[in-house]
């Protein structure tokens, strides 16, 4: 349900993005009114972060964590239901804000004060955005607590921490991060709401408040949020690559520890979003160094995944294509991260299309590609039928080509001087060309995503039945039937390694021989 709802929001958020690309296809275009454009990018960003990536990963976690650790269900099934309904409610509140007086929020998903204060943005769009985020925060917090209790208390006998599937490690870390940083967002949102509705002045400089305080509070949450969105996707990649390369993950401990390392460092980097606000050189240096440090554990993961494919027997099923595409694209997003960590260079590109490119290479080429790898990989487990491979390949290639066409030219636009969040531009020449290419790319990408839904519809009736273990997997979810019974397992084998199902297969074939 999480996954289906998130996919529905993904389609809506995607349509918002296509509208924006249509508006920017040519200079001085009037396809969309300026106020509406500002609503589009605000709601697109909020949707993709809070209603798509975070909950879809929670959906995967919900479904897979109990299966992977050999448990019957999550620790608190009712709390889990509450998270889901709160998530849906939050989404409905956000989308109802289109009908509020003054329309939906037009402040960007970052809701920077004092622009978001009542004096500059009257109407109820921002109030509803705050309400929606409050509700979604509660949903995520309840979900995170549920995951942690499940992982800590309900592992099947023999599943020690060093035998835990890497996806479960990622969900563990994701949950800890959510619990650590969401309260900061809630506090900030409450202060903003009080400013707007109760006459306080936390973020109003005219009355002794601080405009910068909002930025600090928001990014203290906002940067770890990026890793909340990427770590579980990396977890998916760490599950998919070994299975389709027919090899164990290279450096299990390093991959698990690098997950924790990234999460830890991610809480010390927030002010790299604020290099241009004019704080001291020593602070800028600190945040540059911490931001660059994130590259080290990230590099470890990339190199370990590469080493996993080395001398493998690589099967190019769609799930694997998305995983390999993830490595190819995420590397670009990671490397452009080093550029923006170097603060003087960041002064040149922050708040330009370069950043839009960087963040989409990470969140689309990273998180969304990881999510699609996961969908193709676990779809047969969830529904008992395989997705069609031919359509899957078309889906992958359209998304891969479209993604690069859409987002690569944005790096160049940023360096040419195009700021983000502008409803139009007047320059012709390269500005116009790059924008046009980007818009064409977004169409190709949309087509690829449409193919996915065609695939789902087509195989829902006539898809090949999967059996328990179509990929010859490693982890416990492949031990039970597809789809699993309500209690997940009739019995769970004793776990003696990170790859219990492979151990079982080997034991069976040895007995036979």
């Amino acid at each position: 349900m999480y996954i289906a709802t998130s996919l529905a929001f993904f389609v809506v958020g995607g349509i918002l993005a296509l509208l924006m690309r249509a508006q920017l296809a040519t200079p001085n275009e009037h396809f969309i009114r300026r106020g509406s454009y500002n609503e589009l990018f605000t709601i697109h960003g909020t949707t993709m972060v809070f209603l798509v990536v975070v909950p879809i990963l929670a959906g995967f976690g919900n479904y897979l964590v109990p299966l992977m650790i050999g448990a019957r269900d999550v620790a608190f099934p009712r709390l889990n239901a509450l998270s889901y309904w709160l998530f849906l409610l939050g989404g409905i509140v956000l989308y109802s804000s289109w009908f509020a007086t003054g329309g939906a929020a037009k402040t960007g998903w970052t809701i920077y004060a004092p622009l978001s204060e009542d004096a500059f943005t009257p109407g109820h769009g921002v109030d509803l955005l705050i309400l929606a985020l409050h509700v979604l925060t509660l949903a995520s917090l309840a979900g995170a607590i549920n995951f942690l209790v499940t992982i800590h208390r309900m592992r099947t006998p023999g599943m020690t921490w060093m035998r835990l599937p890497l996806f479960v490690w990622a969900i563990e870390t994701y949950s800890v991060l959510l619990i650590a940083v969401l309260p900061a967002l809630s506090a900030g949102l409450t202060m903003l709401l009080l400013d707007r509705q109760a006459g306080t002045h936390f973020f109003k400089p005219d009355e002794g408040g601080s405009a910068l305080l909002w930025q600090h509070v928001f990014w203290f949450f906002g940067h770890p949020e990026v890793y909340i969105m990427i770590l579980p996707a990396m977890g998916i990649i760490s599950e998919v690559i070994p299975v389709f390369a027919r090899k164990p993950i290279f450096g299990y401990k390093a991959v698990a520890l690098s997950t924790i390392g990234i999460a830890f460092i991610s809480m010390l980097v927030w002010a790299h979003h604020m290099f241009a606000v004019g704080y001291s050189d020593s602070l800028q240096s600190f945040f540059m160094i911490t931001s660059m440090l994130v590259a080290v554990p990230t590099g470890i993961k990339i190199f370990n995944w590469l080493a996993t494919t080395w001398r493998g027997n690589i099967h190019f099923d769609t799930a694997m294509l998305f995983a390999l595409g993830f490595i190819a694209i995420f590397t670009i997003g990671g490397l452009s991260g080093i550029f923006v960590a170097a603060y003087p260079f960041d002064w040149q590109v922050t708040d330009t299309y370069y950043i839009v490119a960087h963040l989409h290479y990470v969140l689309f080429g990273g998180s969304i590609f990881g999510i699609f790898a996961g969908l193709y990989y676990w779809w047969p487990k969830m529904f008992g039928r395989l997705l069609d491979e031919r359509l899957g390949k078309i889906n992958f290639w359209l998304m891969f080509v479209g993604m690069n066409l859409t987002f690569f030219p944005m790096h160049l636009l940023g360096l040419l001087g195009m700021p983000r969040r502008v409803y139009t531009y007047y320059e012709g020449g390269l500005w116009e060309w790059y924008n046009l290419v980007s818009t064409i790319g977004s169409g190709i990408m949309a087509l690829g995503i449409a193919v996915f839904f065609v695939n789902v519809v087509k195989t829902s009736r006539s898809g090949v039945r999967a059996g328990n273990d179509p990929w010859l997997g490693n982890t416990l979810e492949w031990y039970t039937s597809s789809p699993p019974p309500p209690h997940n397992f009739d019995r769970v084998p004793y776990v003696t390694s990170p790859r219990p199902v492979r151990d079982l297969r080997r034991r069976i074939s040895e007995n036979r021989a």
């Binding site: 500002n38 037009k106 405009a211 090899k247 290279f250 080290v296 080395w310 690569f408 700021p419």
Partner: protein
């Protein structure tokens, strides 16, 4: 695919000068410092990019299954400590080098050093224009004049929401944040007009909050500043074009805001002063911080253009 893109990108770069493959051609030591940092990072990250992508393609081609069944497993290698230490330490070293280069260059990027005494210019950002005040009190809107080869100290602040001062050819961004004053200094070394744009989303007309910097020979600059301080009519005209026209149209015909010539307020200086100082409904308090001189210059201009002729449409 990525290699093809890169090749395409490089070909494009060769064709178009820089074409967005590097920060725009710098016109000050500030901007060229940023560009040199850019190329250093391109060197290192380019190498890592090539290593990763080539290894990926080679492994994909070399170790594809070629009809081998899923049952066939690769060698059960679970790790290699020395190798893993190597690819942990190597990035640390590379990053240390990059950070070193940044430290070495950073101070000259925010603040250019120059022997000729600084001109202190106040930059005040508003929804949706830039107000520049020169040391002698001269004012200009949206187009800043700077002297060539002299240090210009910029004092940057905002009168309403957060904005960001950015002229790519002359330097990086410095945010204009209400309640804060940010300082930086530039030394333009090339004559010409350079384009800039507000880079922090600041509301409805953020996209059109564009600034120009005209770098003039020092003597010409001095003459201009002297002249401007006495020519209030120019300030009035520039204020109308830079402030009012953004929402009311270049001939005051109305766009987001209502048409100016037919406004009943136009004849009433008191009411106009209140409107400009405090804003009303959707109109921001554009003149909140204007000097009396700028305010009256603007009112004079508006009355002369739209009212004196009995509401003529003006040209």
């Amino acid at each position: 695919m990525c290699v093809a893109l890169l090749a395409l990108a490089l070909a494009g770069a060769a064709l178009a000068g820089n074409g967005g493959f590097a920060p725009v051609q710098p016109a000050s030591p500030n901007a060229s410092g940023i560009r040199s940092i850019y190329w250093v990072i391109v060197g290192f990250t380019g190498a890592i990019f090539l290593i990763v992508e080539i290894a990926l393609v080679v492994f994909i081609v070399r170790y594809r299954s070629q009809g081998r069944s899923r049952e066939v497993e690769g060698p059960q290698v679970i790790g290699h400590t020395n190798l893993e230490v190597a690819w942990t330490v190597a990035p640390v070293v590379i990053l240390a080098v990059i950070a070193g280069v940044v430290f070495w260059k950073a101070s000259g990027i925010r603040n250019a050093s120059a022997t000729v005494g600084p001109q202190t210019i106040r930059i005040e950002a508003h929804q949706y224009y830039w107000n520049f005040t020169y040391p002698n009190g001269a004012i200009s809107v949206n187009t800043l004049r700077l002297p060539e080869n002299r240090k210009a100290e910029l004092v940057i602040t905002s009168a309403d929401v957060a904005h960001s001062w950015w002229v790519p050819a002359l330097g990086g961004k410095m945010d204009a944040i209400p309640g804060r004053v940010n300082l930086e200094s530039w030394k333009p070394t090339k004559l010409g007009t350079f384009r800039g744009q507000c880079a922090e989303f600041c509301g409805l007309q953020h996209a059109v909050m564009i600034a120009y910097v005209k770098v003039l020979p020092a003597t010409e600059y001095d003459a201009w500043v002297q002249r401007r301080v006495h020519s209030l009519s120019e300030v009035g005209r520039e204020t109308f074009q830079g402030v009012c026209a953004t929402c009311h149209g270049l001939s005051g015909q109305g766009d987001i805001g209502p048409p100016i010539p037919t406004s009943p307020l136009l004849a009433d200086r008191g009411a106009m002063t209140l409107l400009l100082r405090n804003g009303r409904n959707r109109m921001p308090a554009v003149g909140k911080t204007w000097t009396d001189a700028q305010l009256s210059a603007t009112l004079d201009y508006l009355q002369e253009r739209f009212h004196a002729g009995g509401g003529s449409s003006g040209g």
